[in-house]
Symmetry: C2
Subunit: 499 residues, 2 copies
Amino acid sequence: MTIQEALEKLQGYEKATFALNHATGLMYYDGATIAPKGTAELRGSTLGELSRMGYELTTAPETVEMLRTLMENREELDPITRRKAEELWRDYDRTHRVPVEEYVAYQELSAKSDAVWHEAKEKNDFALFEPYLQQMFDASRRMAGYWEPEKAPYETMLSTFERGLTVAQCDAFFASLREKLVPLIQQATAHADRVDDAPLHRNYPVAIQRQFSDFIMDVMDIDRDHCIIGETEHPFTTNFSRDDVRITTHYFADQVASSLYSVVHEGGHALYELHTGRELARTCLGNGVSMGIHESQSRFYENIIGRSRAFCSVLLPWLKEHFPAQLVDVTEEQFYRMVNRSRPSLIRTEADELTYCLHIMVRYELEKQMFAGTITAHDLPAAWNRLYKEYLGVDVPSDREGVLQDSHWANGNIGYFPSYAIGSAYGAQYLLEMQKDLDVEAAVRSGKLTAINRWLEEKIWKYGCMKDPVALFESVCGPFRPEEYVAYLEKKFTEIYEL
Amino acid sequence: MTIQEALEKLQGYEKATFALNHATGLMYYDGATIAPKGTAELRGSTLGELSRMGYELTTAPETVEMLRTLMENREELDPITRRKAEELWRDYDRTHRVPVEEYVAYQELSAKSDAVWHEAKEKNDFALFEPYLQQMFDASRRMAGYWEPEKAPYETMLSTFERGLTVAQCDAFFASLREKLVPLIQQATAHADRVDDAPLHRNYPVAIQRQFSDFIMDVMDIDRDHCIIGETEHPFTTNFSRDDVRITTHYFADQVASSLYSVVHEGGHALYELHTGRELARTCLGNGVSMGIHESQSRFYENIIGRSRAFCSVLLPWLKEHFPAQLVDVTEEQFYRMVNRSRPSLIRTEADELTYCLHIMVRYELEKQMFAGTITAHDLPAAWNRLYKEYLGVDVPSDREGVLQDSHWANGNIGYFPSYAIGSAYGAQYLLEMQKDLDVEAAVRSGKLTAINRWLEEKIWKYGCMKDPVALFESVCGPFRPEEYVAYLEKKFTEIYEL
C-alpha cells in the first residue's frame, strides 16, 4: 500500500469509527437521561453489536495494513497525521489482543451492570449489584491483561485513564496529601460552627434552578448551539464531537449549590471539548486527552474559579435576582464561606474542596485491593465503610450513601478515580501560571469567564490529543508540584475557618 | 452454504442490522427532540456512515449467499423464517440497485434537508428550503427508478409506504370522498355557529397539560417502562423495538385539545409497536407493517375512539379534575361537540376529522405533479395555496402555515400522505367489526381502553410484518369499502351540526 492509498483509507476509517463512536455515545447519553426504564437490555445488545463492528473495523487486515504503512513512513507525515497513526496503532495493538467475543461480551456486561447499579442504588440493595461489580472488576483485570500482558493490571488501568500515571506516583501523591490535609481537616471540623450554610438549604424551586443553570452557562460562555443540559441521577458530560457536547445535572429543591456547582463543573468539561482544535474534529485526536486533564478543567472551574471570592461576589447578586426571598439576609462574605463549607461527609460529588481527595483515596485503596485479590466485591461495603471511618471519620449509614454512590465501577471505569485527585491538584498550578498572564480576579469579576476560557483554550484545549497528558501539563506549568495544591488549600481554608 | 449455515448467518445479520437501525432511529429521535441546534450536519454525516454500513452489510456477498440459500429452500422454512427471507430478499433486491455513494448521499441529504426545513419553517422562508425540497423530490424519484425501473416512480413510492396501493386506487378513493364530503363540509360550514369551542382555548398551563398526557397514556394502558413521551415541533412516534417506543407531542397553553389528541394519536402508534409479536422482536418483522395500517391505528384511537361520545363522557370529568376553572361551564354534550368542531383550516395535524382528508388530497395532487415534472419546487407554494382555496376554501396567509407545515417531504417521505387517508378510512370498518365482538361503547366508558387494545392486538398488532397490509386488513374487515367511512362521517357530523 502506498502512503497516498493509506492516507485515503485513513479518511474512510476515521469517518466510520467516528460514526460508531457517535452512535455509541448517544446511546449511553440517552440511557442515562431519558430512555424508558425497561430498555437497558435492548441498549446493551445494540452497544455490543456496535462494539463488534468497531472491533472488526479496527482489526480488519486492510486497516492494519493502512496503519502499518503510515507507521513505517511516519517521519514523512505531517504532525497531525503522524500523531493519528501512533494513536490508532496503539488502539489497534490493544484491541486485537482481546478475543472479539470477549470484547463484545464486555460491552454488553457494562450496559447491563450499569442498569443493575441504577436499580441497586435506588433500592439500596448492594446484593443485587454485587455479582455485576465482581464481574466488572474481573473483566477489567482480564482486559488489562490482554492489553499489556507484561504489566501489573492495575498499572495498566491507571494509565488507560491517565497515560503515564503509576501506582508509585499515586501512592506518593496521596501520602503527601494525607499527611498535610488530615490535620487541617481536623482543625476545620473542630471549628465547624464558624461556617453556617443553612440559607443554601432553603426552598429553591427546581424550575428556577433550571433557569439559573442556563444563566450560568451563559456566564461561562458556553455555546448553546452546540451544548445542551440534560437531567440525570449522576451528573456527567459527554461529547460526540466539538460540535455536540451534552452536560447533565441533578436538581434538589433544598440544595441550590449542588446543581449550581455541578453545572460549573460539567461546564468546565464542556468548554474543553467545545474548543479542541477544529482541525482535529471527528478524528481520534478531537477529544480531551485524558481524564486527569479533563478533571483538571472541570474542577478548576468548579472550585478554583467557581468557589473563589471573586466569583462569589458576582454570583450572589445573580442568585439574589433569581431567589430574592431565599437569600435576602446573606452577605457576600457569608456566601463565600457557605459555598466553601468543609465537613467530612459521605458523598464524593457533594464533597467540599478540602475533603474531596480523601474520598478519592478510599476508592483508590479499594481498587488496588480488588485488583490484588485481597478482597472481593462481597467485602467492598464493609471495607468502604471502614475506610470512610478511618480517613473521614464518618459512619456510612447505607450502601446507597456508601459503596453504591458512584457509577464508575458499574461502567468499568476502574482506575479512573485517581485522575480526579490529580486533576484537582493540577488546578493550583494553572492558577499560578494564569496569574502571570492576566488579572484572573478582574477577569472573574467582569461577569464573563471569556478571558479565562481563552487562556485555557490556547494552553490546553486546542491541542486535543496532540500531546500526552503529562507533556501537556508540563508545557503549561512545568513539573507537577502537589505542594502547590496543598499550599492553596491551606491558605484558603485557614482563612475561612480562621485557624 | 447449507440451510443450517444460512440460518446461523441470518441471526448475526439480524443482530447487526437491528443495531444499525436502532442507532439510526435514536439519532433521528434525538435530532427531533433535544439535540443542540447546531448539530444537524454532524448527525447527517454519522447517519450517512451508518447507512453505508447497512448498505455494505445488506449487499455483502455472504449476505446474498445466505438469502439465496434461504429463498431456494423457502418451502422447508417455518413461516416466520420464510417471511423473513422474503422480506430481506426484497430489501436486498432494492438496495443493491442503488449505487452505494448515492445511497449514502441520500441519507446525508435527508438529514440536512430536515434541518433546513426546521429553520425555514421557523423563519417562514420557503426560498431557504426550496433547493432542498427539489433535491428531495429528485432523489426520491431517482431512488424509485433504481428500485423498480419498470414502474412509474410515484407508483413505487406509494407502494413503498403502503404495499399494494396504486395511483388508480387513490384516485378513485379520493374522488369518492370528495364527491360526498365536500357538500357535507359546506353544510357544516354554513352552520358553523352551532359549535363553539372557545372554552378549549382558555389558558391551560403547559405543566398541567404534561401531567394530563401521562394520565392519558395510563388510560390507554401504555407501558411506561417501554414508552416515554418527549416534546417536539412536529409530533411523531418512533420505535427502536417493541421494548423501546417514543412518542412526542407539542404543547400550546391556549389549545388543550391539540396536545391531548396528539397524545391519543401517537399513543395509537405506540400501542401497535408495543404489541407486535414478541417472537418477531428485533427482526425485520418486528414492526408495524405499513404506514397505512399504522395510521389506521393512530387515527382510530384519535378520532373514532377519542372523539366518540363515550370517550368524551369519561374524558371531561378527568379534564375538569386537572383544569377545574377552565371547564367549569362546559357540559358533556358541549364538550363532545367542541372536540369535533369542523372548520376548513390550514394545518393538517390540527384538522378535524371531517375535513382531514382534503388536506391529504392537496398533498397527493402536488406529489403527483412533482413526479410528473409539471411543476417544480419553486411552484409549490402557489400550487399549494391554489389547492387549499379550491378544496378547503381557505386562503393561506404564509408558507409556514402552508407548504412548509409538514416535515414529510423534507425527510423523503414522499408518497406517504395517502396512507393517512386510507388509514383513516380503515377505521370505520374496524369499528363495525369490533362491535360484533364486544360492546365498544361500554369498553370506552370503563375508563381503560384495555378491551379495545386486546381486540386490536389479536387481530392486527401481533402480526407485525407477517402479513402484507392489504391481506392483514382484509383478514379483519373483508374488502376495503370507503363508503363505510363516508357513512360514518355523514352520520356523525349530520348529527353534531343538526343538518
